[in-house]
Amino acid sequence: MTDLELKKTAVEVRKGILTAVHAAKSGHPGGSLSAAEIFTFLYFEEMQNLDPKNPKKADRDRFVLSKGHTAPGLYSTLAQKGYFPKEDLETLRHIGSYLQGHPDMKHIPGVDMSSGSLGQGISAAVGMALSAKIFHDSFRVYTLLGDGELDEGQVWEASMFAGAKKLDNLCVIVDNNNLQIDGAVTDVNDPYPIDKKFEAFNFHVINVEDGNDFDQLRAAFAEARATKGMTTAIIAKTVKGKGVSYMENSVGWHGKAPNDEEYATAMEELRKAGEELG
């Protein structure tokens, strides 16, 4: 896809996030929106051998949403890609819906791993990459973590292992939007320096200054793919709530749904953003 097509797709992904969370009257828009470009780039450009009609295709690249609470971002992307109908996004978190509050691999087409308990997704991604190494599979594995999630000790257990085993078929992405539920990540339990931490765990680290920019993401993922003998960590600086003016950089929108009026405002902003792209 061209950058323009990716940008248009990201706008649609954002609309789906808003629609899902609004319909659910709960959920996590902030971290879903901050990662909209990352989700879009992964599913529409980076990941290989995806087939929405055959979501369990053996040779597909895998994605594990370690920051599982941003399921609306993943679901909206999967719907956009054609794994399931976009209309179903409105059933998010509703009783009886397959679109559970956190990713559920048993029931949601395209979800490669159930996740949501922070710190656990990265371990599963490491296991997938390890399995590929042992059995000489060619697929790659991607996992997206929150910067708040780095508080979890399991992240570092998994990182030490990935670094030690030189899992170069694994790419860890940190959505570095600087906010977690209780406030700024530096106020809650400072994870910085994030890049030096991953370097110390023998990762190849790529700092992305603007993780909401497709050019920069394209360069970073190309570098990750080309890196042999080391696991790559992409530390992507993003804006929490990106694309909805009143949600941007606001911790209050970590886990809150917009009311009808706020939803209408957000959708109008996104409609205009799409229009500007032509």
């Binding site: 053996a58 895998r62 594990v64 559920d104 691999m105 048993k106 490669d112 791993m113 159930s114 949501g116 308990s117 710190g119 656990q120 997704g121 990265i122 371990s123 599963a124 991604a125 490491v126 296991g127 997938m128 990459a129 390890l130 399995s131 590929a132 042992i134 059995f135 599979d137 000790g153 399991q154 257990e157 998994a158 030490m160 292992f161 030690a164 085993k165």
Partner: protein, 315 residues
């Protein structure tokens, strides 16, 4: 310990190691994980035969369980191995959320369960693992009684699609199932002795101790039916109910806390479907301590003599 001088004794962790090697020869999709305890859990045997399919995850059990989940998600069959304390205890939430919830085909080989860990003491004596594991929906929980049963259980776990918790011990225990007609069936108890006065449901190393206790009871004219419950979940409800009806009294024996283990599982069934007086023998809501395993079993009244005396007192 039971008088079993002529009997061969093997620790079920050894059986686990041997069974993995046997299975590894037959099936290329098995991956064995360990957490820096390969010599103790006996997965080192598998490592020697299949180094490319044995992975040491280091002292990081939570990550190991997650790795196992990831491996299972790619269609291979991981056996994640550590001490029961760490596999079921430390990594409980990883087992619940990364393995149980997605019902992934992960096998957990937990060795050094119960107080028979011995000298390492309370921090390493897991008397809570059966309770923890059986609360997870869809989790199979197996606690084999000897070498023959442990090897069969590992094979059955491989053949079963879904998460399985296998409980093994450190202490060498008598081989009691070495007979031509022995058959391991997941979820089916095995009647080892008939008796009309009470039923003893035992699991793990307490099966041989209970058989010996039944001999002592018989000398007093009390006939105990002895049932080996190797699969605690799913429990053989039919057998539990029929034996309870037949004998009218039930004793449960386990090297595990009396809270949440075999005794509780049996009470859950009987209280609803066949109210019967039950005496639960096991670790009585206390921590263990250091000491030789055999002495500990004696002190905590989990040897044949203690079981016999406690049953006499209860009757």
């Amino acid at each position: 310990m039971a008088e079993t001088k002529e009997m061969k004794k093997i620790a079920t962790r050894e059986s686990y190691g041997h069974a993995l090697v046997e299975l590894g020869k037959e099936h290329e999709d098995i991956v064995v994980l360990d957490a820096d305890l390969a010599a103790a859990t006996k997965t080192a045997m598998f490592k020697k035969e299949f180094p490319e399919r044995h992975v040491d995850c280091g002292i990081a059990e939570c990550n190991m369980i997650g790795i196992a989940a990831g491996i299972a998600a790619t269609g291979r069959v991981p056996f994640a191995s550590s001490f029961a304390m760490f596999a079921a205890g430390r990594a409980f939430e990883q087992v619940r959320n990364s393995v149980g919830y997605p019902h992934l085909n992960v096998k957990i080989g937990a060795t050094h369960a119960g107080i028979s860990v011995g000298e390492d003491g309370a921090t390493h004596q897991c008397n809570e693992d059966i309770a923890l594991m059986r609360t997870i929906p869809g989790m199979v929980v197996i606690n084999p009684s000897d070498d023959v049963e442990a090897r069969a259980a590992v094979r059955a776990a491989y053949e079963y699609q879904g998460p399985v918790y296998l409980r093994f011990g450190r202490l060498a225990v008598p081989v009691i199932n070495d007979r031509p007609d022995y058959r391991f069936e997941l979820g089916k108890g095995i009647v080892l002795r008939e008796g009309k006065d009470l039923t003893i449901f035992a699991t793990g190393l307490e099966v041989s101790e209970s058989l010996a206790a039944a001999e002592l009871l018989a000398a007093d004219g009390i006939q105990a039916k002895v049932v080996n419950i190797h699969t605690i979940k799913p429990l053989d409800e039919e057998l539990v109910i029929s034996a309870a009806k037949e004998t009218g009294k039930v004793v449960t024996v386990e090297e595990h806390s009396v809270i949440g283990g075999l005794g509780s599982a049996i009470c859950d069934v009987l209280s609803e479907k066949c109210p019967t007086p039950v005496k639960k023998l096991g670790v009585q809501d206390v921590f263990g301590e250091s000491g030789p395993a055999v002495k500990l079993l004696e002190k905590y009244r989990l040897d044949a003599k203690g079981i016999y005396q406690d049953i006499r007192a209860w009757l």
